[in-house]
Each structure stands twice: as C-alpha cells, then as structure tokens.
Symmetry: C2
C-alpha cells in the first residue's frame, strides 16, 4: 500500500507576534502537515516552490523522511505570506500575500504517489483538490481543509470535493460560513448530510470538536504558558491526526479520538516556537508524554 | 454541620435572545445558584427582594427545599436587570440595571446559617463578601464569583476576599483583567499565589478550565443544538459544582473534577430555556444521564 499523501503549500513566512518576529522562515500548509505526520508515518508531498527556495529547507524535509518527488520547482519566486498576531492569538492578520509560483500551481501526481493509503487536501482551490482526487486511487481516508475565501467564491466546487471527503477540518468561523447558521451542532448535521463522515471544528486555544453522525467528541487545547507563534497549528493538528491514523490503518471511533489528541499534541508543540522550530527539536518520547498529559487534563474518573 | 450557604442577588430579569423574549422573569445569581445546588444538597439563601417580588417565586424556591430565612423583604422594588444576546451568545449586552433594594443590601446572616458546610459568595461588592466572611464560622470550602466592575473599582477589597477563598470562579475576560496578562496559565499562577487554591475559568460555549497549584483540568461545554438563553449559566455552574461537593464533603482531586462536570451539566440545562424554566422541569435522572454523556464526549480510551 502507498503512503500518506499531502497536497498543499510550501511557503516562506514573515510573522510578527507579541513574542518576536521571524522573517522568510519555512511555512506552508503542506510543510506543517508533512512534518507533523512524519513523526508517525511516511509521507509523500505535492507542492510547488520557486527558484529561490532555500536548499536547507529541502534538506530538512528530506531528513524527516518526506518524499519530495512531487515537490515541483518552477521559475519564479516561492509563495510568501506575511502576517501578524496580537495578544488575541486565535486570529492572524494577513499583511501581505504573494502567491508567486503558487498562483499557477496545478498538482501533478507522480506515478509513485497514485495509490496513497490516506490523503490530506490542504487549503487550496477546491478545483485543484478535485484534480488531485481524479488522479489518485480512492484511499482509505481523505481529509480536507479549506477557508472562507473558497467557501465564498467556489462553494459548488467545494461541495463536490466534500462529497468525496471523509474528514473535513475547518475552524469555527469557516464551519458557520459553510453551514450558514450560528449553531455548530446544527451546522455539523447539515455538513455531514452532504458527504463528510466526520467534521472537525478547530477552535484555536479552545481546542477542537469532532462530530460524526452519532456522537461528538471534545478535546481541549493544551494550556500553554507561552504561545509564541500560532502559525501552522491547524495544519500540524491535521498532520498529527491523519499521520496517526495512517500509521495503524485503524479507523475505529477510539482511534479517531486518539488521533484528535495526537493532532492536538502536535499543534501544542508547534505554537511554542516560530515556524517549525519546535518540531525540528522534537522526539517521539515528548509526543507520548504530552499525550499522557492530555489524559490528566481531561479525565475525571480515575486519575492517571 | 450546617448547610451550603449562598449570598447573592435575587432579581427580575427581562431578556431578549435570537430565540425569544422573557419579561420580568425570575433571575439573580443566588436564585440560579441555589436552584442548581438544591438538586444535590440543602441550601440556605441570603438575598434581598422588594415588596413587589411575586409570591410564586418564593413558593418555587421553597418547593426546591431552599431555606429562605435569610431572604430579606424590604420596602421598595426588587433588583431588575434587562439584557440581550445576539447570535454571539457568549456575551450579554446590558440594556438596563435597576439595583433598587439591592443598592443598600447589607447581608445579615441569621443565627441558623452561621456554621455553613460550604459557602458561595455570588457576584456582589467585595466589601459585602468580606462582611459575610466575618459573620460565619470558617466552612470546609468557600467559593466566590466577581466581575470586572469590582476588579476595576474594589481591587484591594477583592484581594482581601480572595485570601480567604478556596475556589475563585470567573470568566476568561475577568481572569485576564484580574491577572493583568493575556496568558491564562500565567494568570492562574499569579492568582493562586495570592490565596485561592483553585481557579475556575468559565469560557461559555468553550467550557471551563480549572487550575490548581499542580495541575489543570479542562471540561468542554455540552454541545447543544439550541441555546435559548445563556443567562444564569455561570451561577448554575457554580451551584452544580459546590452543591455536588457539599453533598459528599469529599474534596479530593477526582471529586473536584467531577464537580466541574456536574456544574457543566447544570449550566447546559439552564441555557436550554429562559429563566429557570428548564431547571423547574428537571429531575435527577436527567442530570445523571448527562453526566454520562460528558464521559462519552471527552474520553478517548475505552468508550462507555
């Protein structure tokens, strides 16, 4: 069986938060996802970068065991995002977006990637997400992210994607925009009726809610003393979530819940430092230890 | 041993939400607290009402077994609050506050109330909270609420209260205002260093965080399809929390966590209807059933 496949962006970010600033550092949805997932399983990556993309970043991703056959290098500059966060760390303020080579990105799936075990469609144009789905054999699980920009402008294409998606992961504002109502339980019912088997609503510092047709599951965010840079939290969550599921192939309800916790664990590490710096320094023992801390954080029967 | 004692307001509320309107209905912090707690234990109540306070409300509280020896009836009108909620149900917009007889309220503790098992100081002037503390024997647990108005105007008196308090329950905005920092983990450390053994941060639809010196505990809010009126959620949470602890006298870490869940259960019922209407119709079996649902909502090992 193939590996976990991710399609998304690889970018250079410039970020300012109350705790510092980082300029032209490694970012992008596919980067964060693949790095987080690489702690659990092997990952194939599809993205595009420009001629200016630093070789050290390529080497870092390779050291994480990520297959970069699908990382296209094209004439021009790499996608750049510039943003800042105030003390209200839940919300990024975009200062500048330069799509550059990402503007004309058309995902081409290498032969070796075409039977993925699982697939994550990062936040890109739903038309491109559909092109990816057309090029691969149906994996055991397809997860997908999107944003208000596509919900507003490409709603029909997005619903066509969602018909083929098992897990939709979006933030609460996006869920309300997609569902067209304020109440998340009602929004979840509406969205689940149109395709996805699971809806994961990301709520930043408040954690996540996972809905399926029968039940809901709530996981808090890990209470941290210092959130230096929230960039990439959502994609690292997705990477931990799908990476854990791909590692075992188990899609039971308990496994899905534990995947939510592993996703939350990975996100909690990411926000402790700028860019992927905390993930660079991470080892699997720390991931397991924080998984244990989530139990102590949430259980109210026997304390472990 | 004495009973659980609550000091706070008994009011007549006029509330508008996207789901309807209620005019001159029963409200007030002591009312919500005592009614919720009455499902677990016997409650003594201290508050003041005016001559216009409807007898039917007195009868309702008596039917819940609440001791009203300390409910003073004074010349003048009962405290009235008028507020509205938009779809952003986490935040009340006060349209009008008429303190009326509450303006000159000085809590007088009847002889029969002076050795309470536990004490809840509702959101009133910290000077009055201190007067209550002076009049009672030290109970096994003192819990307390406050608001930004007192944090801004009576900070010194409030800290004198907090030196004598075991559990401070406030919302996240209040916690940040009291701690003077944006990060809740740091705020908790600062507040716990000055008296309270536990800080419970109420986050509305996002649930609660409980901090003590060693650990933190996160409980989600129960995902509801219809939140008709959030008024009283915080005081009902407190009533379920302290009521459960008073019922058993057990103050272990597991008991405190389960009390947080019982508080969350009671709050989740309250917001399903205006005023105390859902609590009027509630029986203990429903409380137990929803406690079980909280397990299914939060656990990620063996599913029950």
């Amino acid at each position: 069986m193939g590996k976990l496949l991710v399609v998304g962006s690889v970018a250079l970010d410039t970020v300012r938060t109350p705790f510092g600033e980082a300029s032209e550092v490694l970012g992008g949805s596919a980067t964060y996802f693949a790095t987080a997932a690489s702690y659990f399983t092997s990952v194939d990556l599809i993205a595009v970068v420009g001629e200016d993309f630093p070789e050290e970043h390529v080497k870092f991703l390779q050291r994480r065991g990520i297959d970069l056959t699908g990382l296209e290098r094209r004439p021009g500059r790499t996608f750049r995002w510039k943003g800042e966060y105030t003390h209200q760390l839940n919300e990024a303020h975009t200062l500048d977006t330069r799509l550059n080579v990402f503007e004309t990105f058309r995902p081409k799936i290498p032969e070796s990637y075409r039977a993925p075990s699982m697939l994550f469609l990062g936040n890109i144009d739903p038309e491109l997400q559909l092109e990816v789905l057309r090029q691969v054999q149906r994996p055991a699980l397809v997860a997908c992210d999107t944003m208000n920009f596509w919900i507003d402008r490409k709603r029909e294409a997005l619903w066509r994607v969602l018909e083929q998606v098992d897990v939709l992961m979006i933030n609460d504002g996006e869920a309300r925009a997609l569902g067209g109502r304020p109440n998340l339980v009602q929004v979840a019912r509406d969205i689940l009726a149109r395709g996805p088997k699971h809806l994961i609503v990301k709520r930043g510092e408040y954690g996540v809610l996972m809905f399926d047709h029968k039940r809901s599951f709530a996981a808090p965010a890990f209470p941290l003393e210092l959130v230096r840079d929230p960039t990439g939290a959502g994609d690292t969550f997705a990477g931990g979530f799908v990476g854990y599921l791909a590692a075992t192939g188990n899609l039971s309800e308990v496994a899905m819940r534990q995947a939510v916790i592993f996703g939350s664990v990975m996100a909690s590490f990411t926000v402790e430092a700028f860019s992927l710096d905390r993930l660079r320094a991470l080892d699997y023992k720390e991931i397991e230890a924080r998984f244990g801390e989530f139990k102590r954080l949430t259980h109210f029967e026997d304390l472990v």
